[in-house]
Every structure is written in structure tokens, then in C-alpha cells.
């Protein structure tokens, strides 16, 4: 999951703006990770040397790999061995930002190293043994930055990101929580979770995004908004909230109750007097999914 949070990390450090991030993610499917970025990622060459080789290659009208090999930075065999390896998602995001002229290769490498180092990560793709670090990173990025958010929301979004990776796809980046006074919905499902940490969750999408979301979730291609597309929004929310309740029950002996999910469209959400509404946009290359959290104002209990 660290890879999905890299974009948010760049946001939190004011290295990029939300618009630049959203734009880079939307171009994700058209991004071709350049040989110099691949060589740097697999540590065949440093960012500084890669920039030098790029300059020489441009001057000589040659390609990056041949130039680097001729200059003795690595061998053809070494490059061939890694070039077809699966690349992490954050590299596509990074390449997109490089293509847009927002970051240089060396800056990207610097920020990746800094991100890993700040969060004591061994590898951005290895997270199974780094659960505590991940919890802390989620706290730092999403909860501590929003003092009014209760700490248990950290648990909730940790599972939400995991379920998005599993059921919709790993090519997303979450933006930051935004408080809302009123929110106009397009196609939306919502569900109330009752108990010691009451929460009403909304999942809102526009038509184009809903079609792709449902297609990914169900594994079929939808071309028009029908009852199955609408049901997929309810189903995802219900599945996720159900697993969240199971985890709370198993890990903390907290029993919560779910109301059935409800579908609404073309209306608006206004929080009650005792509630606050926060929007968490999740950006995929096919569009943005908005999750809305309606939370009681006085909630402060920690589950971490």
C-alpha cells in the first residue's frame, strides 16, 4: 500500500499540487516508463549519472541505454535482466510527473529515498512485515493532519485502501480529507455503521466513473447505468464495512451493527448538528471516487 500513498506524501510535502497529482494519475495508462527511470529504479545507475548520460545521449543523437553501456555504467545483460520486471505503481506516477516537467529524475529518486527513509521502509512494495510503520504513515498523512478526525478512522482507511487494491485496482492515489458543509451527490450509496464509533459512509461517483468502477468490481463490462451498476456501489460499501466490523470484532472485541446500504442520486448531503462531513477523494486513472465520512463531532477514542 505504500506505493499508493507516495503521491499523497508528495502532496503533504507541498512538492506537487492536487491538480498536478490528479493530472499525472489520469495520464497513468499512457505512461511509458523510460529506460533511464528503469535503470535508476533497479540501481544500475544513480540519478546524477543518469542525467549526465541523458545529456550525452541527446548530444550524440543516441539512446540512453547504448550510451550508458558505452560509458561503462552497466552491461547490456544487466539491463536485459531487469527491463521486463514488473514496475511499481509509484514509478508510473513518478514518470508522469517527470513527463509533465514537474519533477526531474534526480528529484524523483531523492523523494522516493526520503519517503522510504522517513517511514523506515525497506522496499516500497514490501509491506506485509511493516504494518506498524504503515499505521503510523496513515496516521501522519491523514489523521494527525486533521485534528478533528477520530483516530479510529486510521483503521478504517487502512482497510479501505486494502479493499480498493483487492477489488478495484492498485492504480489509485488518495488525496487529503476535506471538510464539507454540504455535498451534492451524483450516483451514491451510503451505509450507517452503529455502535461505539458510529459512522455513516458515502461512496459517490459520476456516471463515467461509476461504469468503470462497476466493471472492475464485477469483472464485466458495463456501458450504461443500470441496476447492476448501482448495486455494485452498494455492494462494495457493504462488503468493505462488513469486513471492517469483523476486524473490529476480532481485534478489539467491539461489536458494531450495519444498516442495509441505500442508493441515492442527484441530491445533497448535509451533516446533522452533531456530525461533521469529510470528503476523501481517491483518484484513479479513470476518474475520482469520493468517499464521504459523516462522523460524530465528539469522537476521540483511539483504536491504535
Amino acid at each position: 500500500m505504500y506505493t499508493q500513498l507516495f503521491g499523497n506524501y508528495l502532496l503533504s510535502k507541498n512538492i506537487i499540487t492536487p491538480d498536478q497529482l490528479v493530472d499525472a494519475i489520469r495520464k497513468r495508462n499512457d505512461v511509458f516508463v523510460q529506460p533511464n527511470t528503469i535503470a535508476m529504479h533497479f540501481k544500475l545507475i544513480s540519478a546524477t549519472d543518469a542525467e549526465y548520460v541523458t545529456k550525452i545521449a541527446t548530444d550524440k543523437d543516441s539512446d540512453f541505454i547504448s550510451t550508458a553501456i558505452n560509458l561503462g555504467y552497466f552491461t547490456r545483460e544487466a539491463y536485459d535482466e531487469v527491463k521486463d520486471n514488473t514496475l511499481p505503481e509509484y514509478l508510473f506516477l513518478g514518470q508522469s510527473l517527470i513527463n509533465d516537467g514537474i519533477l526531474s529524475s534526480s528529484k524523483l529518486e531523492e523523494y522516493i529515498v526520503e519517503y522510504q527513509s522517513n517511514n523506515e521502509m525497506i522496499d516500497l512494495e514490501l509491506y506485509s512485515d511493516q504494518k506498524d510503520n504503515l499505521d503510523q504513515l496513515l496516521l501522519n498523512l491523514f489523521i494527525i493532519a486533521n485534528e478533528e478526525l477520530p483516530l479510529y478512522i486510521g483503521k478504517y482507511i487502512n482497510l479501505l485502501f486494502t479493499n480498493l487494491i483487492q477489488f478495484i485496482g492498485e492504480d489509485f492515489t488518495p488525496l487529503n480529507f476535506l471538510p464539507c458543509e454540504e455535498y451534492p451527490v451524483s450516483l451514491c450509496s451510503y451505509q450507517r455503521i452503529n455502535g461505539v464509533h458510529p459512522l455513516t459512509m458515502y461512496l459517490d461517483l459520476d456516471e463515467k466513473v461509476a461504469l468503470e468502477f462497476a466493471s472492475r468490481y464485477v469483472g464485466e463490462s458495463f456501458t450504461e447505468i443500470d441496476e447492476y451498476v448501482k448495486a455494485s456501489l452498494e455492494d462494495f460499501l457493504n462488503l468493505h464495512n462488513g469486513i471492517y466490523n469483523v476486524n473490529l470484532s476480532n481485534e478489539s472485541s467491539i461489536e458494531m451493527k450495519l444498516d442495509p446500504p441505500v442508493f441515492i442520486e442527484d441530491t445533497s448531503i448535509t451533516p446533522g448538528e452533531k456530525e461533521q462531513l469529510y470528503m476523501l477523494p481517491i483518484v484513479y486513472p479513470f476518474g475520482t471516487i469520493n468517499f464521504l465520512f459523516e462522523i460524530e463531532k465528539q469522537e476521540t477514542t483511539s483504536l491504535f
Binding site: F167, L239, H240, G242, S249, E255, L258, P260
Partner: protein
Amino acid sequence: MNISEIRVLIGDDSILARKQMKDILEEVGVKNIEEAANGQEVVEKFRSFKPDIVFLDIVMPVKDGTVAISDICAEFPDAEIIVISSVGTQSYLKQAILNGAKDFVQKPISSSKIEEILLSRFERS
């Protein structure tokens, strides 16, 4: 009894979940399938359809799954009810089993799990 001869009732408020379950059941060879979209409908369809097995969600409008189980088992103590839900918490599980459910499957469902449940009770078609 052969799987192709059994009657199956699906109780789930999600039309998508019902369709996915129906597709799995048909793949396994089940031919007689009825659907219900809430707990009250499940109880009524149980009386008229008399299914050999029920796959039932818990969180549903009108009447939730645990109450529906209780109502059905009061009338039909041998009812074969399998709970299929995303909320497999201790309290929901306990209540469902106490009310008469025979098994519990955590969503998301897999075709192999449904096939396993059917083959442990009925013959392959």
C-alpha cells in the same frame, strides 16, 4: 438427492449479489432457483417454494437475516440455511447459529466454496 433436482432460495437485498450467486449455482448444475430481496420475502418464499437449501444474507431491509432464520426455523426446524454475509462478527454469527443457521460463509463468495457446501449435502449432477 442430485444437485440438478434441488431447490435453492437466495435471500439477499443486493441484485448483484443474487445474480452472482445464481450464476455460480447454475454453473454447478442447480436448475431450480428462487430469489428474495429482503428477510420477509425470504420467509414467504420459503413457505411456498420449500427449498432444500437457502443462501441468506444478514444485513437486509424490512427483516434482517437473523430474524428471518428464526421465523423459518420456528416453522421448519430442519431448514438448511447457510448464511452468506460480509459481517461475520462474533455477535452476528452467534445469533445466526442460535436461530438455526447451519453454516456461515464470509463474503466475497467463491464458486469453489459454494460447490463445496452443496457437494457436502447433495450428489454431483
